[in-house]
Symmetry: C2
Subunit: 195 residues, 2 copies
């Protein structure tokens, strides 16, 4: 998605070979116009999928997911992160390991929100190791619902999550795939390496 | 806001004299169409305020804030909750006490996101004791920016936050003000008590 790639190039900060900071438009400050364009793009890519619900995870997934839900005219559910298992019988819960923070967190959604007749589109801001996305997938499968696929704003193509999840047969649509952050340079998939 | 009050009446669950659950459209599942209508309403009410930025707090404030930002065509910043003070010199930080959880959390925003020329609209899903809103106000004042006011989706008019903040001279626009949840009944401000 050209608009997104341009935004990443103009405002993204490469902090290391694996870390890209995009907190001026996605992770802390949000650009609502860009989120609307992202929502329209996801809605178009999944227009044939008969999506009935969108599931994302707090907090940075909420803005792109809500804009996608607006376009597809379906509700959006955000999974909550919890430090420890809540003693509630009314939650679907999955454990997500964060490589960045080196800790496990539970994520959960209320059983009231998804049923077996639902077709769910997963939305998240980043796909790197794929742990969060696998957790969301797990929650939806616990509900017996179908997963239409995953819409990702930025995929780190040099980490294994995207491949793992595609190989598991899940459709992944990433609006920008970054193949390298080496030497402070952002290189998108499909680009030739600059000299 | 009539559409919102109808939604609260049809889907809100009164759990006690002080607790209203609205997780089918605001706090867990999000109704994007309703959020768009809410965004338009806030934008209209603050259309004269020359707002340059919106500040909210993760997670339930993000959807209504993003829709308001879309209408006003300004960026949205969500303050992050942190368990303890992050050792970063580049954050404005305020401490927010939660009466519900009986614990204090720090909330913070990056100093890069707001400057003294900004006019900030605060947005949040609920206003009860006003602790979160006071924290957001504090963050914006640390930046030396002006506060245009606060847009609140649901105000619990029977708790003191709204009055406290209005008495401090801050403009508060609440789209639904609930004056009572007694006896399992939701009573909005301006309504007569039912027999």
């Amino acid at each position: 998605m050209k608009l997104l790639e341009e935004k990443i190039l103009s405002e993204g900060k490469v902090l290391s070979d694996t870390v890209l900071k995009v907190d001026t438009f996605l992770n802390h400050q949000i650009d609502p116009q860009l989120m609307q364009a992202i929502g329209k793009e996801f809605a178009e890519r999944f227009s044939d999928a008969k999506v009935t619900k969108i599931v994302t995870i707090e907090s940075s997934g909420i803005a792109p997911a809500t804009m996608t839900g607006l376009e597809l005219q379906v509700p959006v559910i955000f999974a909550r992160k919890r430090k420890s298992l809540t003693l509630s019988s009314n939650l679907y819960t999955a454990t997500v390991y964060s490589f960045t923070k080196q800790e496990s967190n539970d994520i959960s959604i209320s059983k009231d929100m998804i049923g077996k007749d639902d077709v769910v589109l997963l939305i998240d801001d980043f796909l790197a190791n794929g742990q969060a996305l696998k957790g969301l997938y797990d929650l939806v499968k616990q509900a017996g619902a179908q997963v239409a696929g995953a819409g990702i704003v930025i995929e780190k193509g040099f980490q294994s999550g995207g491949n793992d999840i595609r190989e598991a047969g899940i459709r992944v649509e990433s609006l920008a795939i970054i193949d390298s952050l080496s030497n402070g340079q952002i290189r998108f998939r499909g680009e030739k390496a600059s000299k």
